[in-house]
Amino acid sequence: MSNILSRRSLLKAGAGAGVTASMLPFLRAIPASAAGNDVLVAVTGYTVNSLDIHRTGTNRPSYQIAVNCYDRLVSFGIKETEEGLSYDYETINPDIAESWTVSEDGKVYTFKIRQDAVFSDGRPVTSKDVKWSFDRAVTVGGFPTSQMAAGGFKRPDQFEAPDDYTFVITLDEASKLALPDLAVPIPMIMNSELAKEHATADDPWALEYTHKNTIGSGPFTVARWDQGQQLVYQRNDKWTSGPLPEIQRLIMREVPSPATRRALIERGDVQISFDIPNKDAAELDANPDVDVFSNPIENAIYVVGLNYAFEPFQDSNVRKAVAFAIPYEEIFQTAAYGRGKPLWGGKAGVTSTEWPQPSPYYTDLDVAKDFLAQSGYKDGFEVPLSIDIDQTSWMEPTALLVAENLGKLGIKVTINKIPGANWRTASLVEKRLPMHLETFGGWLNYPDYYFYWCYLDGHLFNSSNYKSEVIEELVPVTLPLPVDDPAWAPNVKKMIETAFEDIPRIPLFQPAVNVATHGAEGYVYWFHRQLEGKTLKKS
């Protein structure tokens, strides 16, 4: 707990070390407006439950610590888009590594580590730390290990540290996913010496220590964490992987009620409201003081899943009838308030590898009726449409609108709400929901990566029990191919064509992550959907 500030240590530090006022974490009572230009306050509706992404049970909102307090070997670049700044999947920049080489066969990656990089306690970053951190990620099990495996990193013997500033990774087979997978939050570099001091026989990876302390070399350290209330980032002045952040401190306050968060951002008492509901984003757009950013989440689609285990959905005409009956525009306006990207009414025939891309389906009840008439279920049938109670904000209106239109075809839909704790088991693990709403977003932004998770037989997000010979054959061969390989684009187009023809998952729209700022600038959208503090500043 030595990193957590206490009032006592703080006053002592203030009196003894002669730190400036701006360096004091908190003054006892100063108005927020006087807090200075170097403190930003952000509110979110989520709660952080650990400072270590590698720990079992660490939730999504806690991933922000991995990106704000740790560095990686490489990182993604940043680009301008119509919706403001966004990370750039195409550009991979050095982070802790200053350069790297790839062997002829694409299997051996040799990284040179920067010699000036230090951890927040001043110890230099060496390849031994990288090796230790990577060993940890592939060993602890659960999410970190499966995310590492996606890039081809499976065993500690794949990582070598021949000297302090050289790090070598040997892959079992070459894959385009390897390098980008090093820039996701999981392969962060930890201070292995410090961790080993806190390791025990039961806990060789010091998970208990990093659960409450950050031991990275990233742009910030966690100065204070009051679980369920706030997280305070303090700038790490020893950070060397980029220009030092302009803000000294970023305070993340947890405010569960969206109405309260909205009042706070409108009044300008907080500078950032992170991940706001679509409705608020649409309405806050009208407020001239507030900037709203709505970035479509890359490689993510909200879909209606039709489960092949449910007999009527084995009939291709039934699936097409459903796809033509869905009121896409109404759903997009009601469930998403027009935030995100429509994914219907595309041209027939797949001409690009862009993903997500609009499906060729659109709302036409007459076409839908024709398809149903050609099917073995022309008199309709009954089906439950399952939704997740945790995601009712978009699922409930969507389900109601789908049910209404399918009712016009004679398909009687009942809506079945499933509590959050059961949702994953029912939809993804047991795959037993006949008709359901589903969402998957891939960190690695390739269409074949999406297909790997969502269309391959038995894979987790293939909640439709879909199995196509074409896709079973194409995905494994396409996934490792570089995108400039002549076979890649035709293979991907073929996959998309097959998915649209068979339509086990009906794309509705690409969701957006909405962020409102009032007096802050430099917000960047990241694929991990967390707030990164290093680019932020007051305006």
Binding site: R7, L10, P25, F26, L27, R28, A29, I30, P31, A32, A35, V41, V43, T47, N49, S50, R55, T56, G57, T58, N59, R60, S62, G141, G142, F143, T145, S146, Q147, H211, D226, Q227, G228, Q229, Q230, V232, I251, R253, V255, P256, S257, A259, T260, A263, L264, E266, R267, D269, V270, I389, D390, P419, G420, A421, N422, R424, T425, V429, W453, L460
Partner: protein, 339 residues
């Protein structure tokens, strides 16, 4: 001496209740349909990583074994670790229970300060304007859902008028929590002699406390009014009047004292349901209390947290009932513990 023995007897009587609560809360949480291993294994977990998580959480063992582990830990005061907050449950409860208690007690105090005089006035002047005011206030208070009242108060006093501080929980981010003694920020800041933090905490407390007070006004005011009406029409009041005692003595010395019993009973009931039911107020004001903690734990099938919450509540209610019983004997000497 006799009373002390009675009290310890009452405490002893609570032991089977607590044992029952331990067993029932364990069985009920396991009976919940959710699977925490799947829930906490993360987005891209496969069968293998779910199994790893299950083993890490000790959920791969048979239920009786899990129960024995639970009881063994319980005996050493270890309530386990909450998955959704990542903290030991005892720490969570130690931080959140005082937050809820502080809010609830302040709200009830406020509520009593308004409701009891209002009820007394309404009873002494039935069908007057005071009585009607009482009725209107009580009806509005109880018929508006607390989250609505909360948002309305935030809208008016924070958003429009700017009088209230940012609804950011127990303290604005510019303050540091006072050194924890009782966990009640108001008391702790006084103990530390830190008046700025006291004021800061008090300001944060006003709106949520008023919201809750409005909601709890109704039962207390109505009960005071009814109890006062029946007390005022009873024989001993008539006798007291005939004996020429002053109106003030009659009202406060005799009638109110006799009317207090049902009011205290109501207060106990209101207190217990407010503590559990102020989830919505906690959410609206970002108050890190016990209600939202329990609800989130339940949604995530967070066994340790749910069990810890139920157990803490059971102990609290045992204590509360005891306090109320003692209060009875203070108010009405005819009531004793002895049966």
């Amino acid at each position: 001496m006799g009373r002390l023995r009675q009290i310890s007897k009452r405490v002893a009587q609570a032991i089977p209740v607590v044992v029952g609560v331990v067993i029932i809360s364990f069985v009920l949480t396991r009976a919940l349909p959710g699977d925490p291993a799947v829930y906490f294994a993360g987005a891209t977990a496969d069968e293998k990583s779910i199994a790893e998580v299950r083993a890490n959480l000790g959920l791969d063992k048979p239920l009786p074994t899990q129960f024995l582990y639970y009881v063994r830990d319980l005996a050493t005061g270890d309530l386990g670790r909450s998955l959704s907050t990542g903290q030991p449950v005892t720490e969570d409860l130690a931080r959140r229970l005082p937050a809820s208690l502080e809010l609830t007690l302040c709200a009830l105090l406020l509520s009593c300060l308004v409701a009891i005089p209002l009820g007394v006035l309404a009873a002494t002047r039935p069908n007057s304007w005071v009585d009607h005011l009482c009725r209107v206030l009580v009806t509005t208070g109880v018929s508006m859902p607390t989250f609505f009242t909360g948002i309305l108060l935030i809208y008016v006093f924070y958003y429009l008028l700017g009088l209230a501080p940012s609804p950011l929980g127990r303290l604005d981010f510019i303050y540091i929590d006072p050194p924890s003694v009782t966990g009640f920020f108001l008391i702790d800041s006084i103990l530390a002699g830190d008046w700025e933090t006291f004021l800061g905490a008090l300001k944060q407390l006003v709106l949520p406390a008023v919201t809750l007070a409005l909601f709890t006004l109704a039962p207390i005011a109505r009960m005071t009014r009814a109890a006062m009406l029946s007390a005022l029409s009873s024989d001993f009041i008539r006798t007291a009047r005939a004996a020429g005692l002053t109106w003030r003595t009659i009202l406060f010395g005799y009638a109110l004292r006799n009317a207090m019993l049902p009011v205290i009973t109501t207060l106990g009931m209101v207190f217990s349901f407010t503590l559990g039911a102020n989830v919505l107020v906690e959410k609206v004001f970002a108050w890190p209390g016990i209600g939202s903690y329990a609800v989130e734990a339940l949604v995530a099938s967070d066994y340790a947290a749910v069990q810890g919450f139920v157990l803490a509540m059971a102990l609290l209610f045992v204590a509360l009932n005891l306090v109320i019983d003692i209060l009875y004997t203070l108010i009405d000497p005819r009531i004793g513990f002895a049966d």
